[in-house]
Symmetry: C2
DNA sequence: TCATTGTTTGAAAACGATTACAATATATAT
DNA sequence: ATATATATTGTAATCGTTTTCAAACAATGA
C-alpha cells in the first residue's frame, strides 16, 4: 500500500540504512548509489512517513497556536503571522480555540502534549487561575504575560505606553473632558491601558475624574451602554478612549445616534486596530498593535528556544504600540496650522 | 525522561501488553490489575505517546483545514465551525493558509501527506489547474466544488439561488435599474451568482442590460471603481448587487461619497454576510452563507467517510443561502404596507 | 605484496505503542 | 481427581524510520 524505505531498498538492491542515508543527504553514500536511490524513490512515489521519523527523532516539526477565538477580529492576523513564520521555518501549526474557557485550554494542552508538538504559543484564556501551566513539559511562549508565572517567555505590547499615547493624542487634539471606557476590570491589559490614560492626564495637569472612568466588558454593547449612561446622567464627555476597538465601535455607534458631531465635538480613540477600524465607513482612530508581527515573532522566538541546546533564559519581548490617526479624532497637525 | 508504558509495567509488576490493554480499556484484564495499573500510571504522570500509537494504528486523529487566507473575513467562521466539530469528535486541526497560491497549496498537501493526517478539508486556491488533486491519497472534502474533479465530496452553497434571491429582493423593493458588480470573471461562484441575477430579471420580465454587468475583482476598491465608472458615464443604477460583501462595501463607500441616499434612492446588497456587514455603522443587506455550518458539516462529513469501511460514494452537500435584510435596501414589507 | 587508511555499506537496535498468539491460572462439570 | 472451558497474562512481532557499530571494499604508501 504505502511505499516504505524497505521497498525502495529492495528495488534498488541496497540495505534500507543506505536508503535512509541517501534520502536525508547524509554523507558517506557513493554519489552513484545515491542517485539510483533517489530515482527509484521518485519513481515509486515515495512519501516519507513523518510519524515514524518523529518517533525516533523525538520531534514532530509541529507547533500549536492556542488562542481564545479565531472569530474575534483580533486573532486572525496573529494566526497568519504565526503560520507564515512557521511554514517558512518548516513547521506546521495546530489551531486551537479555547473559547475563553480554561477547561478547554487545559484539555487542548493535554492533547498537544500527547501529540508531542515541539512547542506551543498560547494566549491564555484568563490571566488568573492558570495553575495548570506550572509543571508543563513543552516549550511554550505566551502572548500576553500572566502575572506571577515567570517561567515562560512572552511577547507583549506596552499597554501603558499605548494608553498614554492614546490619551495624549486626545489632549493634544484639544479635547477637554476625556473619558476612559474600559473592558473587564480584572484584565491586566485593561488595567495597564487605564494606567497610561491616567499618566497622560497627570502629565498635562488634568485632574483625574473617577466618574469618567468606566469598567465594562470587551464588547461593543458595553461601549454603547457606558457612553449612554454618561450622556443620560448629564455627564457627557467630549472624547473617549475605548479599552479596545470593539468598545470604541460601540461608543461610536452611541455617539452617532445621539447626533454628536465626530470628530468636531466628540473624539473617539480605540485600541488594537482591528480590521473593522479602517473601513471607509468607520475610520476609527486607534492604537495599533502589531498583530501580524506578534504572531511571527512568537514563532521565531519559540523556534529559537527549540534549537537552543541549553535551557535558554526567559525572554520578554515588548512590542511598541503605534498611533493611527483616522477620522474619529481631530487631526492634531491641522489644529496646529490655525 | 518520558514515562512509557514499560515504566508502568515494571512498577506495577506486569507485562507491558497488560498495561496497554488496561490503559485502553480493552477487555480481558482483571479489574484489580486494571485499577492498579491506572493508579500507577496516574502517579507516574503518564502521557500516552500519540506518535507511537499513530505508527501502529495508522491514523493520527489529525485533520487539516487548507484555506486561502484566515485574514479574509470569510474564513474565520468556517475555521471555527470546523474546529469545534473536530474537537468534539476527537480530532485536532492543522491550519494551512495557501495565500491563494497553488504552489503553496501543493506544498502543504505534500507535508500533510507526510504527516499522515487522516483527512483534509480544502478550499482550493483556484478552480482551475488543480491537477495535483487527481492522484491524491488522503480523504479530502472540498469547500467549493471544482468543476471537472468529480472524485471528491464537497460542501457548497447554492450560488445561483443566492444570486436569484438577492436580485429578487432588489426588484421587490422597487428598484428599477439594477446592476451586477461582480468579482473575478473566471470564478465559478461569481458566474453562478450572476446567473441567478439574470434569472431573476428574466422572471420579472426586466430586460438584461449588459452595460450594467461589470466584472472586477473581489476587492473593495473594485466595487468602488466599478460604481464610479457607471456614475461618471451617466449610467447610474438605482441598485447594485455586489458579487460579495467586500465589493458591496466598496460600492457603498462610493455611493455615500456621491451623496446617494441609501436605501431611499439607492439600494445595495452583498453576498456572504461577513462580520463587517452587520456593524451598526454599515448594516449591509446581504445573502448569508452559513459559514460556521460549512466548516462544521465539512468536518462531520469527512469523519463519516473516515469511519466508513468501504469506499463511500461522492457526496455533494448543498447549503441554502439566506436573505439578510438590513439597512442598505428598502424593506419590502414596509413598502407593501403603503 | 601487505599493512594502513578512508569510503561505502549492512545488520541490528531503538523509538513507544498495539495485538496475535501462546501460555498460564482459575473455574466448572463430570 | 480429572478433563474442559474460560479468564487473565506474557512473549514477540510489527509499524517505518534513524543511527551506531562493525564489516566489506577500495585506495594509498612502503
Amino acid at each position: 500500500m504505502q511505499v516504505t524505505i524497505k521497498d525502495i531498498a529492495k528495488k534498488a538492491g541496497v540495505s534500507y540504512a543506505t536508503v535512509s542515508r541517501a534520502l536525508n543527504g547524509r554523507s558517506g553514500v557513493k554519489e552513484e548509489t545515491k542517485e539510483l536511490i533517489l530515482e527509484v524513490a521518485k519513481k515509486m512515489g515515495y512519501q516519507p512517513n513523518a510519524i515514524a521519523r518523529g518517533l525516533v527523532l523525538k520531534h514532530t516539526h509541529t507547533l500549536a497556536l492556542v488562542i481564545p477565538d479565531i472569530t474575534n477580529p483580533f486573532f486572525p492576523e496573529i494566526a497568519r503571522g504565526a503560520e507564515d513564520a512557521a511554514s517558512l521555518l518548516g513547521y506546521s501549526i495546530f489551531l486551537c480555540n479555547t473559547n475563553w474557557d480554561t477547561d478547554k485550554e487545559k484539555l487542548y494542552l493535554k492533547t498537544l502534549q500527547e501529540k508531542r508538538v515541539d512547542g506551543i504559543i498560547l494566549h491564555p484564556a484568563h490571566n488568573d487561575g492558570e495553575t495548570h501551566l506550572y509543571d508543563f513539559q513543552i516549550p511554550m511562549i505566551l502572548l500576553n504575560k500572566i502575572p506571577g508565572i515567570a517561567e515562560y517567555s512572552s511577547i507583549e505590547i506596552d499597554n501603558v505606553r499605548g494608553g498614554f499615547i492614546a490619551t495624549k493624542h486626545l489632549i493634544e487634539a484639544g479635547y477637554k473632558k476625556i473619558a476612559f471606557i474600559g473592558g473587564t476590570e480584572s484584565s491586566p491589559s485593561n488595567a495597564e491601558r487605564k494606567e497610561g490614560y491616567k499618566l497622560a492626564l497627570k502629565k498635562y495637569n488634568i485632574p483625574i475624574d473617577e466618574s469618567l472612568i468606566i469598567n465594562g466588558k470587551f464588547k461593543s454593547e458595553s461601549g454603547y451602554e457606558s457612553l449612554k449612561k454618561l450622556i443620560d446622567s448629564g455627564n457627557t464627555p467630549d472624547a473617549v478612549f475605548g479599552g479596545n476597538d470593539v468598545i470604541a465601535l460601540g461608543v461610536l455607534h452611541c455617539a452617532q445616534e445621539h447626533g454628536l458631531r465626530i470628530p468636531e465635538d466628540f473624539g473617539i480613540i480605540g485600541f488594537d486596530d482591528i480590521p473593522y477600524a479602517s473601513l471607509p465607513q468607520i475610520q476609527l482612530t486607534t492604537i495599533e498593535q502589531p498583530k501580524y508581527q506578534m504572531g511571527k515573532r512568537a514563532i521565531e522566538l519559540l523556534v529559537r528556544v527549540l534549537k537552543a541546546e541549553e535551557d535558554s533564559e526567559v525572554i520578554r519581548m515588548i512590542l511598541e504600540p503605534k498611533l493611527k490617526i483616522r477620522k474619529t479624532t481631530r487631526n492634531v497637525s491641522r489644529k496646529l496650522d490655525k
